[in-house]
C-alpha cells in the first residue's frame, strides 16, 4: 500500500519536475512545480514527518511558488529568443545533470541498507522542542535572516522616488 503510494508520487514528481524545468511557458513551469512539491510532501508523510509535510505545502506551494507566479505575471516577460541552450552548453549541462543523478542514485542503491529501525514521528511538538532547545541559536538567526531578506527585497524592488 505505502509502496504503491510512493511509486505514484515518485513518478508524478519526476514527470512534473521535468515539465517544470523544460517547458517554455513560465506559468506552466511554476504550476507543475507545485505538483512536484505536493508529491514531495506526500513522501514526507510516508517518512513519518507530518509536520514537515504540512509545512512543505504551506511554505513552498502556498507561499514561495505563489511569489514566483506573482513575479511571472508582473513581468509578463516575453520569452527571450535566446533561451535555447547552445550546443556545448546542452551537452555539458545534460552530462553534468545525468552524472549527478546517476551518481546519487548509485550511491543510494549501494551504500544504504533497507528500511531504518526505530522510527520517530516528526510531530510539531517534537520538532518544536528541538527548535527551541538545542537549535535555539540557529532558530533566532533564521528569524533575523528572514527579516533581512524582507528588508532586502523591499530595497531592491523599490523605485527611486
Amino acid at each position: 500500500m505505502e509502496l504503491a503510494v510512493f511509486f505514484a508520487a515518485a513518478v508524478v514528481a519526476v514527470a512534473t519536475g521535468v515539465v517544470a524545468v523544460a517547458h517554455r511557458n513560465p506559468v506552466i513551469n511554476v504550476m507543475s512545480l507545485v505538483v512536484t512539491f505536493f508529491c514531495v510532501a506526500v513522501c514526507y508523510a510516508l517518512l513519518a514527518a507530518p509536520f514537515l509535510a504540512a509545512a512543505q505545502i504551506l511554505v513552498y506551494a502556498g507561499a514561495i511558488l505563489v511569489l514566483f507566479l506573482f513575479v511571472v505575471m508582473l513581468l509578463n516577460a516575453p520569452l527571450a529568443e535566446s533561451d535555447q541552450p547552445r550546443k556545448l552548453q546542452r551537452i555539458f549541462g545534460l552530462a553534468a545533470a545525468a552524472l549527478v543523478g546517476l551518481g546519487g542514485a548509485a550511491l543510494a542503491v549501494v551504500a544504504i541498507p533497507g528500511a531504518g529501525e526505530g522510527v520517530v514521528e516528526g510531530t510539531a511538538a517534537a520538532i518544536g522542542r528541538l527548535l527551541v532547545g538545542p537549535h535555539l541559536l540557529a532558530f533566532e538567526l533564521v528569524s533575523v535572516l528572514l527579516l533581512a531578506a524582507l528588508v532586502g527585497a523591499m530595497v531592491l524592488v523599490k523605485r527611486k522616488a
Binding site: 504550476m31 507530518p50 509536520f51 509545512a55 504551506l58 507566479l69 508582473l74
Partner: protein, 346 residues
C-alpha cells in the same frame, strides 16, 4: 478495517452534502439580506419568499453555453476552476462539527462529526491547503488572456499572500495556549464557559483573524480580485456556465469553512455554556452539532452584513492595512499571550 472505512466515508458524505447544501442557501440569504439592508424586496417570484431562486439559478448555469475565448491557454483555463473547487472541498475534513460524544456506530467509535479526527497537524493542514486556493484565482486571471482578469489575478495573489501572514500569526496565539494542532483538542481546551473562549481571552487575535478571514475569502470590503465596478468581474470575467459556477460555489464553501474555523478556534466550537457539559452520548452529539451550526450561521450572516455595509478598500489601503495594521497587531497579540502564559494567567 472495513467498518472504519465505511464510517469515515459516511461522515465525509454527510459533511460534504451539508456543505454543498449551504451554498444555495447562502446565495438566497445573500440576495434577500442585500435586499433587506437596501430596503427592497429581492428575489420573491420563484417559490415562497423566493426560496427556489437558487435552484433556478443553478439550472440556468447548467444550460448556459460554455465559452472558451480565443487565445487562452486551454490547459490552465480548464484547470483554474477545478483547483478552486478542489481546494474548497478538501479543507473541511479537519473541522470538528460536533463533540466526540463516545457514540459507536457498527461497533466503531464515531469520534464526532469530524472526518479526520486523528490528524495531528489539523490547523496546519487547513492553513496549508487553503493557501493553495490562490492558484485557482491567479490561474484564471492569467490564462483568460484578458487585462481585467490579469489585474484581478495579480491583486489577489498579493492580497492573499499578505493576509495569510496575519491569519497564521493570529492562529498562532490560539495554538500557543492550546498546545496542540488538533482542532478537537483546541475546542476541548477552551472549556464550556464563555470567558474561557479564545475570542474573550484574545480579543486582538480574534479581530485580526476575522478581518484576515474576510480578505482570504475575497469578500467585500476586500474583494479586489473581483471588483465588479472597476474590473468588471476580475479573474472570472471570461468564464461562463458551470465553470463560473465552480468559482461561485467555491467562494461560498470557503466562507462556510472559514466561519467554521473561526467558531472552532475562537468561539468555543460546539460548546454551549453549562449545557454540553451535562450531556453525553447521542444527545450531546446532536446538541453540539446544532450549536456549531448556529454559531456558524451567525458568522455567515456577519459576512453578508459586512458585504452590504462597507465600501471596497483601495489597493494601497488594503496593503497598508495588511502589513502595517494587522501584522503588528497579530504580533502584539502573540506577545501578550506569551507574557500572560508566563504569568500563568492563561
Amino acid at each position: 478495517m472495513w467498518a472504519e472505512l465505511a464510517v469515515t466515508a459516511a461522515k465525509l458524505l454527510v459533511v460534504a452534502t451539508v456543505l454543498l447544501t449551504c451554498v444555495p442557501i447562502m446565495v438566497w440569504v445573500e440576495r434577500r439580506g442585500a435586499a433587506f439592508i437596501q430596503d427592497r424586496l429581492g428575489p420573491n417570484r420563484v417559490g415562497p419568499m423566493g426560496l427556489l431562486q437558487p435552484v433556478i439559478d443553478a439550472v440556468k448555469l447548467f444550460f448556459k453555453e460554455d465559452l472558451t475565448p480565443g487565445g487562452v491557454n486551454p490547459i490552465l483555463y480548464t484547470l483554474a476552476p477545478m483547483v478552486s473547487m478542489f481546494v474548497a472541498l478538501v479543507t473541511f475534513i479537519v473541522i470538528p462539527f460536533s463533540a466526540d460524544a463516545g457514540v459507536e456506530v457498527f461497533g466503531v467509535p464515531l469520534k464526532g462529526i469530524h472526518v479526520a479526527p486523528d490528524l495531528g497537524v489539523g490547523v496546519l493542514y487547513l492553513l496549508a491547503i487553503s493557501s493553495l486556493g490562490v492558484y485557482g484565482i491567479v490561474l484564471a486571471g492569467w490564462s483568460s488572456n484578458n487585462k481585467y482578469s490579469l489585474l484581478g489575478g495579480l491583486r489577489s495573489s498579493a492580497q492573499l499572500l499578505s493576509y495569510e501572514l496575519s491569519l497564521t500569526m493570529s492562529v498562532l496565539g490560539v495554538v500557543l495556549v492550546s498546545g496542540t494542532l488538533n482542532l478537537q483538542e483546541v475546542i476541548g481546551r477552551q472549556g464550556p464557559e464563555i470567558w474561557k473562549w479564545h475570542a474573550v481571552t484574545q480579543p486582538i487575535g480574534f479581530i485580526v483573524f476575522l478581518v484576515a478571514a474576510f480578505a482570504e475569502t475575497n469578500r467585500l470590503p476586500f474583494d479586489l480580485a473581483e471588483a465588479e465596478t472597476e474590473l468588471v468581474a476580475g479573474y472570472h470575467v471570461e468564464y461562463s456556465s458551470m465553470r463560473f459556477a465552480s468559482f461561485f460555489m467555491s467562494e461560498y464553501i470557503n466562507i462556510v469553512t472559514i466561519s467554521a474555523l473561526t467558531v472552532t478556534l475562537f468561539l468555543g466550537g460546539w460548546q454551549v455554556p453549562w449545557l454540553t457539559a451535562t450531556l453525553s452520548g447521542w444527545p450531546l452529539l446532536l446538541v453540539s452539532a446544532g450549536a456549531f451550526a448556529a454559531k456558524v450561521a451567525l458568522l455567515l450572516w456577519l459576512f453578508v452584513w459586512v458585504r452590504w455595509s462597507l465600501p471596497r478598500f483601495r489597493y494601497d489601503q488594503l496593503m497598508q492595512l495588511g502589513w502595517k495594521g494587522l501584522l503588528p497587531l497579530a504580533a502584539l497579540n502573540l506577545l501578550i499571550v506569551g507574557m500572560a502564559m508566563g504569568q500563568g494567567w492563561l
